[in-house]
Symmetry: C2
């Protein structure tokens, strides 16, 4: 999920409870499949796991027309879906796009951004739906593959492992803050808000080197780290917060929409070396997985609760 609202929000939203409730309703998947509760669902196919995910953006909730063009919204809608595939170590096969409430000029602009992201990340747009609506809605579903590798779930982190993020944090939230002051603002932070980059190469690299758990930072490190820890029944001890230049610590922790990946890996793995071998920026080591699930610390202090949840 993506967000337009800035600033840390409390954990007490209805979204987590609703998701847990739905997981119970939907029942247990067959062996080898994963349904609700990870970044993408995993379906078993004869040729290996398929990934299936959906993410929708609503005007006024996920984006403001005054601050982002429809082309930016189109890019971000596809990018946020692709990020869900990245978080499982997958690559995209195809996407379908359902649009509601777009005028003809909106449509052209939305598809400009959608097609830019489609080409940038080799994800053909193969179909869709168009509808009237009082509010602009962009709903995308993506199909992906792990090319036979086991997908990386949120639930595999083990005590003693190291935690990594694929880049500095808070840029998207800082960019949104700048845009709110000056809608004509430009620069890297604004670009990070408008055109987030799904870390597909990094996700495949992490999966290949044996990452034990992974999640994308769509709702902020504070919340997404807690999700990974809860799914793995472990605690986490952060040793610093890699805020990007120009972002506050709050934005780095609770800002969301950075779409960097958070993953865990055994200390015996040369993560930086493996990334470098693939021509990728080395990930940033941010802390350790610990045994006690109640432990959530930053430099030894309790980790502030922050991150974006829909109210519902």
């Amino acid at each position: 999920m993506v967000r337009a609202v800035s600033g840390p929000t409390s954990f007490s939203g209805g979204e987590l409870a609703a998701t847990e409730h739905l997981a119970a309703l939907l029942g247990s998947p067959p062996r080898g499949e994963v349904w609700v509760g990870d970044d993408a669902a995993v379906l078993s196919g004869r040729e290996g796991p398929l990934l299936f995910a959906t993410d929708l953006l609503v005007e006024g909730v996920h984006f403001e027309r005054a601050l982002s063009s429809c082309a930016d919204v189109g890019w971000k809608a596809l990018a946020s879906n692709l990020s869900d595939l990245a978080a499982m170590g997958g690559r995209p096969l195809a996407a379908v796009v359902a649009l509601a409430g777009a005028s003809q000029p909106d449509l052209d602009s939305l598809y400009e951004g959608l097609l830019e992201a489609s080409r940038a990340y080799s994800c053909p747009l193969v179909g869709g739906d168009l509808s009237d609506s009082p509010v602009l809605v962009v709903s995308i579903a993506v199909l992906g593959t792990t090319d036979g590798r086991p997908p990386v779930l949120r639930s595999g982190a083990r005590p003693g492992e190291r935690l990594f993020v694929t880049g500095t944090l808070g840029a998207a939230a800082a960019g949104l803050r700048l845009l709110r002051v000056d809608p004509a603002a430009t620069g890297e932070l604004v670009g990070a808000h408008r055109r987030p980059r799904p870390r597909l190469g990094e996700g495949i690299a992490a999966a290949s080197l044996g990452a034990s758990a992974m999640i994308d930072l769509s709702d902020g490190l504070g919340l997404d780290l807690a999700r990974l820890a809860a799914a793995s029944s472990v605690g986490v001890a952060l040793e610093g917060l890699p805020a990007c230049a120009g972002a506050t610590e709050e934005e780095a922790l609770g800002g969301g929409e950075d779409y960097e990946l958070l993953f865990s890996a055994s200390p015996e793995i040369d993560v930086a070396g493996e990334f470098a071998r693939l021509g990728l920026r080395p990930p940033i080591e941010i802390g350790q997985v610990v045994a006690d699930p109640a432990t959530r610390t930053l430099d030894g202090e309790p980790l502030p609760r922050a991150g974006y949840l829909h109210r519902l």
Copy 2:
């Protein structure tokens, strides 16, 4: 696409133009794949064609809360997506559901209907997204398979072939008309509006017996027949309109939301016999495919233009 608005609408909407425009933008798929322009996209997989489709429902556009419960909306949202798979001769593998603007009671009711349809048509709900929104939106994407058979496209109808529909028409529109007069109305027509049944078995039967072209009647026979004829570059001569008991001729032609299938087949094929062999109701023969693409007749008279298009 599905609709809540009753009565024939003119052809001059923006939806067709927008769809053609998008098809041009998205470019040509690789050999063996079909992107925009059919009921579902066809992706080539090593184990045979995969089908991928999406359809979204917006409150006030596709449904009215006063006339349908959220459970009905959930059922219809999944059913309309499954109908797109049926129209290609496919069966469902999985669906993802993105919901926006649903309160907790809405969510429970939506999932009640979604899960009823999921069980009725063996389509597991494997994931989704939840979001705030000022208006209720239900967006679904489905993945399906043809189990190795070639998918039935809209474009394969040839002159001399016979046209069939899998059931009588107009029930859903008639049901909506009754509900508008009395929101407490019940009965078969109301049921057809609230709980349409995707014709998955019929679609597989038609594909198996060698149907040359197929489409689902989501927007009304008038419009969907024109789509099939245009895709196949043929004309059509109808020999009667199988309106269901209680539906007007207008509702049968332009009502939409019946989700029956329309298909063409060679006159040498014993269509009724093949359906009966599979324990299915025999389809209704409604006319003939003719060579001149300008021919669109009903009992020798020009076919009235009717069907639902979004304005955009």
